[in-house]
């Protein structure tokens, strides 16, 4: 049995929402328990450079607390991988964001990747990992922050279809808010290509890092 710390990069009031990503991890990895905590004072999460910059010291602080509590690995549940560079140097346990794992898992399936995100451009980890293997990028119309995803399901599905039409052979979801609303299977039911859920991608990546040490 392993314990994975989940850092939520959005301030959430409801305990059931706080645990949501952890529950996804526990569902796909039956020998894992999760421990989730939110950063403070960011009710809209991370959605641009400034909100990311503000979040990083809070993420680092939470990660150190979690390491102190004895978790086996940490997921910073965000597709922008905020603070990962710093944490890789400062922690002894494995740590991952959701960005590089999602981009990489897409690339494990095909080198024609469609990226679906909430920012103007693909988040940096997607650009770095995929480069010109990104065949198209889309942002659902009507979505600015992760909080807008739940009420824009149709717009999300239309954006995914545009990625498929553009030649994508796999879709990488570039915001963990898509995991919160369980968008991957909804999208997969409307396209003929696999869809990568960012929290699941982060889960299997950190799980590999943990079990490969044992």
């Amino acid at each position: 049995m392993f314990t994975i710390g989940i850092i939520r990069v959005i301030t959430l009031e409801s305990e059931s929402l706080v645990k949501k990503h952890g529950e996804i991890v526990e569902r796909i990895l039956p020998n894992v328990k999760t421990y989730s905590k939110c950063i403070e004072d960011q009710p809209e999460g991370i959605y641009d450079e400034e909100s990311e910059k503000k979040a990083i010291p809070k993420i680092v602080k939470l990660a150190k607390e979690m390491e102190g509590l004895g978790v086996n690995g940490i997921i910073v549940s965000c597709a922008g991988d905020p603070g990962i560079d710093v944490l890789e140097k400062e922690l002894k346990i494995p740590v991952t964001g959701a960005g590089r794992p999602t981009a990489s898992l897409a690339l494990a399936i095909s080198d024609k990747v469609g990226v679906l995100g909430i920012t103007k451009e693909p988040p940096k980890p997607f650009k770095e990992v995929l480069r010109d293997y990104i065949v198209a990028y889309e942002k659902p119309i009507g979505v600015k922050t992760t909080l807008d995803l739940a009420k824009n399901i149709d717009s999300i599905i239309r954006a995914a279809k545009r990625l498929e039409s553009a030649g994508a052979k796999v879709i990488a979801l570039a915001c963990t808010g898509f995991s919160t609303i369980n968008a991957a299977p909804l999208i997969a039911n409307n396209v003929n290509i696999p869809v990568i859920d960012p929290v699941m991608a982060a889960a299997i990546t950190i799980y590999y890092r943990i079990v490969s040490r044992t």
Copy 2:
């Protein structure tokens, strides 16, 4: 509980050797059972273009048999991903080799990847996924086929150290024979960077493909 078919691309006599990769998969994924079979008449496995070409129709035949038996997904346990292009078109269930998953999982960790293989150059999936993110490629001295790995542990470790010295921040093992001899932890004990085991990488990738459908 899921069942994963494991195609061994080498003809093995001993039943315990046949099951070896399946056992690795079952160890890291407690809710998975595996079903392993070898291709016929290739006691040295795949180690160059000709031996790969000979193997592909045998791999396709075995994969179709396994799909008929009702497995949930298939791993072709080889870092060259032989036959995967064909199988992706012809099967209804997910299928993966070990090449793209290993290269991609390395890239999830860092874009400075050292590749350790048994062929003259990195196998094609590694070149395609990583391109110039391969900081160095090494082949252990004394190793020609996968069968030579077990008796060349020191040479393998020396090659891994050369990759680390060349600036690699993660090592991708580019032959599933390294998994057979459990080389990843042996190497990891001698370097300060993570090492990606190809059978484990294939396991978590196919597992994602299976659970994300449920």
